[in-house]
């Protein structure tokens, strides 16, 4: 299906168009309109892909394949299953708040900003679709460069350090994954005599247990940096805090999900035996992440930093779910990823709006905002509660399924994870209390005009996000049905790739 590469090419082309449209004196909002058109077209395209998908013939829904570097067995191959589809929808949906709410007010060089934003989205879409490991790695690296420039150019006060930290961590772990990919390819070549980067062919490679473990760890390192898993998370708080709002939303909402996606698609499905032997370590890391992230969230004064650490905590559940070894845990992990993307993306928008209005992210200098900014504060309260996992929201479904699946294999880990939920209630409510309730901060509102509240534009977009979270919380069945990843072996109808 030619529409799969189009999903990648459309945002890239739209980004170029937005960049080119930024010419002339009256062009202030033209790139923004081009970007909006692009994401609307992208939504329509994704809708048509969803409708035209090959429903009912096995778990794989759409395919595309074209030769790229046949001399080394590299093809431009993309395949879509339910998991890809869910995450593609998440990407597309979250691109709306990014563009509509936060990218419009970029003062400096809006054309370049939109180009980079859309290029990142294109790279992420490619990551979710590619089933040739070289192509996957190509997109994996490609999505970093525009994000690096976004942080560097439009970030906050300490952006240089944050940007380079982000890049070095992700790129360095990516190189480890590259070595692991190539190790798998070479082992496959030794076994069969064919050099190929095809996901489905490589999944058949017979592997010694040690080799499988080493290769799996190479993949795990890259995805663990992205997700992030606790000892490798140090880039995340800085990067999220320093990135411009749209960058934070993209990072927390989608970019982190590529780590979860990679864990499912590559670590668990390519190396099932090694992954099951690795389970105790992964579960321990997941529980450690949940508690450590929550604990550090409690101690933050910077509101964006608090949300960033809470991401570390919430995505620990994804690690637990992926490695729980049961379909229920896997589904829970996917629901958790989607719900976390929506709620944390929205929280970053709110934090960014607060920073625009109050010129600070420090919660010690906020307080009593409910009177001045009732709309913003109520929306903030909603997403904070969603993020702490109140029943009825998507986050609750995800965390509940994950804990249930974890309980079956390790009750202590499940208990630790549940303890993390308690902490998450504490820091979420503390954040709401410090920012929105309580006495107004002294110097605020006296020497400045009162800050403007959310208008119709923000309320519409965020309201739709709320609705999605509620739907996900009350009727998660469609996502649950889709989210079980297709195994690479369930690929009967495709012809063998050209060696």
């Amino acid at each position: 299906m030619i529409a799969l590469p189009a999903l990648v090419l459309l945002p890239a082309t739209g980004g170029l168009a937005a960049w080119l449209s930024d010419r002339g004196p009256e062009a202030r909002h033209r790139p923004w309109w081009v970007a909006i058109t692009t994401i609307v077209l992208q939504t329509l395209l994704l809708l048509s892909v969803t409708c035209a998908a090959d429903w009912g013939h096995g778990p794989w829904l759409a395919h595309f394949s074209a030769p790229w570097i046949p001399a080394l067995g590299i093809a431009a191959r993309m395949d879509m299953d339910g998991l890809s589809l869910v995450l593609l929808w998440l990407t597309t949906i979250l691109s709306f708040p990014c563009v509509i709410l936060s990218a419009r007010d970029v003062g400096e060089r809006p054309g370049l900003f939109h180009l980079l934003l859309l290029a990142t989205i294109a790279g992420i879409d490619g990551v979710f679709l590619a089933t040739d490991l070289f192509l996957f790695f190509f997109f994996w690296e490609l999505m970093l460069v525009p994000m690096y420039v976004l942080i560097l150019q439009w970030g906050h006060e300490d952006r240089r350090r944050a940007a380079i930290k982000f890049f070095l961590f992700t790129q360095g772990s990516g190189l480890l994954m590259l070595v692991a990919i190539l190790g798998l390819v070479i082992l496959h070549q030794h076994a069969t005599g064919i050099v190929t980067f095809d996901y489905f062919a490589l999944a058949d490679t017979p592997l010694m247990p040690t080799a499988a473990m080493v290769l799996m760890l190479g993949f795990f390192a890259a995805f663990a940096v992205k997700l992030p898993v606790v000892p490798l998370h140090v880039w995340l708080p800085d990067t999220h805090t320093q990135a411009p709002t749209a960058g934070s939303v993209l990072l927390a909402g989608i970019l982190l999900k590529t780590g979860g996606y990679g864990l499912i698609r590559f670590v668990v499905l390519l190396f099932p035996d090694a992954a099951s032997r690795f389970t105790p370590v992964a579960l321990a890391l997941g529980a450690a992440g949940i508690l450590y992230g929550a604990w550090l969230s409690l101690a933050q004064d910077d509101i964006k930093r608090l949300i960033a650490y809470s991401s570390v905590s919430h995505l620990g559940f994804v690690l637990l779910g992926v490695f729980s070894g049961s379909p229920m845990g896997m589904r829970g992990a996917v629901v958790q990823m989607v719900a976390h993307g929506l709620s944390t993306g929205a929280l970053f928008i709110i934090a960014g709006s607060l920073q625009d209005r109050l010129h600070t992210r420090d919660m010690r200098r906020m307080g009593g905002l409910w009177q001045a900014l009732p709309h913003l504060s109520s929306v903030g309260l909603f997403f904070a509660i969603a993020s702490l996992g109140l029943p009825g929201m998507g986050n609750f479904v995800g965390e509940f399924l994950v804990l249930l699946a974890t309980w079956r294999i390790s009750p202590p880990i499940a208990a630790l994870g549940a303890a993390g939920l308690v902490l998450s209630a504490v820091y979420s409510l503390t954040m709401v209390g410090r920012a929105f309730f309580g006495p107004p901060h002294a110097g605020q509102g006296t020497d400045h005009a009162p800050p403007a509240d959310f208008g119709a534009r923000h309320m519409t977009v965020l309201g739709l996000t709320m609705a999605l979270l509620l739907v996900l919380g009350t009727y998660p069945q469609p996502v649950l049905n889709l989210s079980l990843p297709a195994t690479p072996l369930a690929m009967p109808e495709m012809e063998a790739p050209q060696p």
Binding site: F134, L178, I186
Partner: protein, 486 residues
């Protein structure tokens, strides 16, 4: 002796003819325009001649001096193209009088070609010295500047020293084997391994000095900083390609996977070069010195490819050389396009002052750092394929770790270019020819990165017997067996 295998690649007499013509032209009347036209025409003619059959004569009395195989043709192509790039960069920059600059450039190119194609110690050494001596003249070409003198003296002393070491190694090798064949002597000789080991170690030391691998690299940053930009590019690209080609030939028959002394030495030098080069570049404020460090690190990556024989080893090295040549020449051309601005602080705000130039520079740096979509990404992947295939675990770990260091300083330059325009910036400009060169190199770097298939086929073909040899109705021989067929 298999005489038909020997023969003179036509590119060598063409270059010789071009040099003679240029000398005549200078003797008649000086003109930079005529000099560069003659130089470029010679280079392109020599490039075109790479596809023509080899000049050979039956009953060759001298023995095998050159092996014009696929490896030579490929390397020669890279050498000629990168020399042409240097010549274009030198236009209106060479100084007055400018004519001899192009003469020396052609002479150096001739030396590089001779080195890349020779399998005889004497011929190899002649090529090496031709290259070294013309480089000396090129480095000191702006002789009014004190830095140029300093760089030339440093180069002179170290080049002389390393030539002496190399020559001693070659002599020991001859004493051991009784043959002037330019190849690592076999350790299984009658007199035990001591003599061949010493010979190999000395030859390697000499080659590594010229190739500026760590720990023989200390001259390179100083020399490159003092030399004019086209010459710095010539040192970093053309001469390194030729030396690496010669190194590959020297070890063509040796089994580098065996953990013997030579393999160990190469591996240690490779690791040292990766880290040493990247760490050296890390703290630099001068772009030329940064590129010097980067080129040392790239020698380390190339040694990894050399140390990984098998279906990918030499092919990946060949691909990497092309990627490295395009990106490094491009970076120097971009510096030339910015009035030779080599201070990194001076590049601040370049994205707003000269967006196209800054973009080209960014493409080159991204390629050197190995980030997609530039060609350096695929090149590095290819080398890692070779390394994984040969199970070079330690070297791969070193490559990954040192590449991360590399990312930092390449991106640092990109970041400086994105900063706001400083108050005290001065206008920069280059020549039109140079702009064409930068554009071409940037397009090559991007397109070959997106569609590397053609170049991959080209480099893989190096492992096949040459069509020219088959036409002479010879049994098919792998190119590197040729060196050993007495």
């Amino acid at each position: 002796m298999t005489a038909p295998l020997s023969g003179l690649p036509p590119s060598l007499p063409i270059l010789g003819g071009g040099i003679a013509l240029l000398m005549l032209s200078i003797a008649w009347r000086r003109s930079e325009a005529r000099a560069i036209v003659i130089a470029l025409a010679t280079l392109f003619l020599a490039f075109a001649s790479l596809w023509s059959p080899v000049l050979s004569w039956p009953g060759d009395p001298v023995g095998i001096l050159f092996v014009p195989d696929g490896w030579f043709a490929y390397i020669a192509g890279l050498i000629l193209l990168s020399s042409a790039a240097c010549a274009i960069m030198a236009w209106r920059e060479a100084g007055t009088p400018a004519d001899e600059f192009y003469l020396l450039l052609l002479l150096g190119t001739l030396g590089a070609l001779v080195m890349a194609g020779s399998v005889d110690m004497v011929i190899f050494f002649l090529g090496l010295e031709t290259l070294s001596l013309s480089l000396l003249g090129l480095i000191a070409y702006h002789r009014i500047q004190p830095t140029a003198d300093e760089a030339a003296i440093k180069y002179l002393i170290l080049a002389g020293l390393s030539s002496a070491i190399l020559l001693f190694g070659l002599a020991l090798s001859y004493a051991e084997s009784g043959s002037l064949r330019f190849a690592a002597p076999s350790l299984a000789g009658p007199d035990g391994p001591a003599l061949p080991l010493a010979a190999t170690a000395l030859v390697l030391t000499g080659l590594f000095f010229k190739l500026s691998a760590v720990p023989f690299h200390t001259w390179l940053p100083d020399v490159m900083e003092g030399a004019p930009i086209p010459v710095a590019s010539f040192i970093a690209v053309t001469s390194k390609i030729a030396l690496f080609a010669a190194l590959a030939r020297y070890f063509a028959g040796a089994d580098l996977l065996r953990p013997d002394a030579a393999g160990m030495e190469l591996a240690i030098i490779a690791v040292l070069s990766m880290f040493g080069g990247n760490l050296l570049a890390l703290g630099q404020t001068n772009l030329k010195r940064l590129l010097a460090g980067s080129s040392i690190a790239h020698v380390g990556y190339l040694l990894l490819a050399l140390l990984s024989p098998g279906p990918f080893g030499l092919a990946s090295a060949a691909f990497y050389l092309a990627a490295y040549a395009a990106a490094t020449s491009g970076a120097f051309a971009a510096m030339r396009g910015a009035s030779g601005l080599s201070d990194i602080a001076g590049w601040r705000g370049m994205f707003r002052r000269r967006p196209a130039l800054a973009l080209a520079m960014a493409v080159m740096l991204i390629s050197l750092a190995g980030i997609p979509p530039a060609i350096g990404f695929f090149a590095k992947t290819y080398i890692v394929i070779a390394g994984v295939s040969a199970r070079r675990v330690v070297l791969l770990v070193a490559l990954v770790a040192s590449s991360i260091i590399g990312l930092y300083y390449y991106l640092n330059v990109v970041r400086a270019m994105m900063e706001p325009v400083p108050e005290d910036h001065r206008a920069v400009r280059g020549t039109q020819a140079n702009t064409v060169l930068i554009t071409a190199l940037a397009i090559v770097t991007l397109l070959a990165g997106l569609f590397p298939e053609m170049l991959v086929r080209q480099t893989r073909a190096l492992l096949q017997p040459l069509p020219v040899l088959r036409a002479a109705s010879l049994p098919p021989i792998a190119p590197h067996d040729i060196l050993y067929s007495e």
